[in-house]
Symmetry: C2
Subunit: 337 residues, 2 copies
DNA sequence: TTGTATGCGTTATCAG
DNA sequence: CTGATAACGCATACAA
């Protein structure tokens, strides 16, 4: 059923029906009610493509996901889009997800711009001086960066968690508990968030006069086996750490597994502090953590992007959330040697 | 840049340019080359909405994700769409992801049909006698079910793993190792796959003359804390099992955590067999498993759906994969009592 | 092999 | 408050 047929049923012009459905003020209450209830009755929905063509709006938000980079298509992303999608669908938007080979990412954005297939984009996993940011600016697509990239160029909209402070506080907590050898299992350090986390860790150590020890610092993709093998290796070195600071609950599961395998009790023998994205499928209160819900982040990102689409000429929006430091069961005082 | 402008640059009609770009045979090699290189040079891409409107094809595959049902928006889904998206993007398709409140699912499908916003749909998480299947049939949208629903109605296209046989074999393996008390930590049993898995488990037990014991059987969402708490509870009952059969590696992580907490060694004290979807972020060889890559499933589903879109009148496509039984480090002979 | 004219289903402009 | 008509950008039947 299209508009023409539908308006014929109602004995109205297409124009009036369209206006009634789109909430234009000039149509009479009576007509509007008649149209709206008929739309439900006949299950009439305007064709998306035609509407897009006429308005220039696609009512879609794009996500470009490089396939080889596990950092983006990962379980954290799932919880993120659960939040994003929830907000978007309330506003009538859907998500256009494109999977690309790593080297096809730029082309994908150019494509979107040229085809006008999305009204905005959420940019995931920013790196330092991420080239995608100037690209999107050049293309003129509204976009919001989930995270930040230390760029000196023109400002852009972003949403981020204060990773530096979160990890500084987490490290301070461990230091206050008497820990002086604290291992860091970070994410990949070409990702901006990982750089900031490392910086927070370093700042806290420096303040306490503790020297950095690269032999107990790692940087890899946040997967369980990484946490396991890094812990096995680090704990079997001479002078092992008494605490671990871990970038996500996923590798932390591996850390815990390794400790148990080594006969060590979390909290009692070795303390663990993690950054907790509050993933829905993993335990919540197992670890002491700097906590910040990734799903809520997804919601907020969607809201900010929609605002930006609404006011294209407004200055860039930025928002920085503080993580909450939660004391769980995985930390305890350092043992005196 | 639109077709009109682009064709004026080339001094050709819109028709010829369109044909050259869409691979029609009648256009001369020379013209085609000229058009194609100019398209690259001027970065011309046809507008998606206009193309869709003219052809009736949206070049999009839909996923409808109910937000409250964790069973669908979960880390397994992530790996699935990584596979799906990879295949689709090669064919020029993208994915339209819509998040809906649980009760809005039917409306979302009706909406898609009415708006013609997708060319096909992948249906996730089928239940027994799933009402979405007749709905999609009624709406006339090509669709492929990932999994099956025991429906007596008209046939439909599906892709599935032989869950029943996988769990039967897994159970047999444990029985062969001398285990007679085998706990089952299943997924939610209103999901079709969970029903089939339970059936496989029951068949193997029946063959071996072992009676079912509901006190060591659970059915919940496949999350880590579920594995942990179910194991803690089951192992502290009188006459605890000597083996666990677990629906996914995620709750299995919890099983393992519980066993270690209870001072029990996997394989040695208690055996664990899981179904392993080969999630990218969790350990691969930790458990003895019936293994079947969820990412490959995603790929195959995409291929099958595309075939179906191509030949709308062909009979439904179905495909059943057998899982591979992999011996890992989590199984051993039952201890003699 | 190329071009002309029309339709796809909306929204937007302008007139009444 | 309502309606006729022109875009929107492309594909395609038909003509040359």
């Amino acid at each position: 059923m299209n508009l023409k047929q539908f308006s014929e049923i109602l004995n109205l012009s297409q124009t009036t029906v369209s206006r009634a459905l789109n909430g234009f003020p000039e149509v009479s209450e009576k007509t509007r009610n008649r149209v709206q209830s008929a739309a439900i009755q006949y299950n009439y929905h305007p064709n998306t493509q035609a509407k897009s063509l006429a308005t220039g709006k696609s009512m879609a938000i794009g996500h470009v996901l490089p396939v080889n980079k596990q950092e983006i298509i990962n379980p954290i992303f799932t919880d993120f889009i659960a939040g994003t999608g929830e907000i978007l669908s309330r506003s009538g938007y859907h998500m256009a997800v494109t999977v690309v080979e790593d080297e096809g990412e730029e082309a994908a954005y150019r494509d979107m711009a040229s085809k006008k297939s999305v009204d905005g984009v959420i940019l995931h996993g920013p790196r330092e001086n991420d080239s995608r940011i100037p690209l999107l600016q050049e293309l003129g697509i509204p976009f919001l960066v989930h995270g930040r990239a230390q760029t000196t160029e023109t400002p852009y909209s972003w949403f981020d968690v204060n990773n530096c402070r979160a990890f500084k506080k987490a490290t301070e907590l461990l230091i206050d508990l008497g820990h002086h050898r604290i291992a860091l299992l970070n994410g990949l350090e070409y990702m901006d968030f990982a750089v900031r986390r490392r910086r927070g860790y370093e700042q806290a150590l420096a303040q306490a006069g503790i020297e950095l020890d690269p032999s107990i610092m790692r940087s890899e993709e946040m997967m369980e086996p990484y946490g396991f093998s890094a812990t096995m290796q680090i704990m079997q070195q001479p002078n092992p750490p008494t605490a671990f600071l871990v970038s996500s609950v996923i590798p932390a599961m591996g850390v815990q597994r390794a400790l148990l395998k080594l006969g060590l009790q979390p909290a009692k023998d070795v303390s663990i502090v993690i950054h907790d994205d509050q993933l829905s499928f993993l335990p919540a209160d197992l670890f002491t953590a700097s906590r910040s819900s990734i799903k809520d982040a997804g919601k907020r990102c969607a809201q900010m992007l929609l605002e930006q689409i609404k006011n294209p000429n407004a200055p860039p929006l930025t928002e920085l959330w503080e993580a909450e430091l939660i004391i769980g069961e995985s930390t305890g005082p350092a043992k005196n040697k």
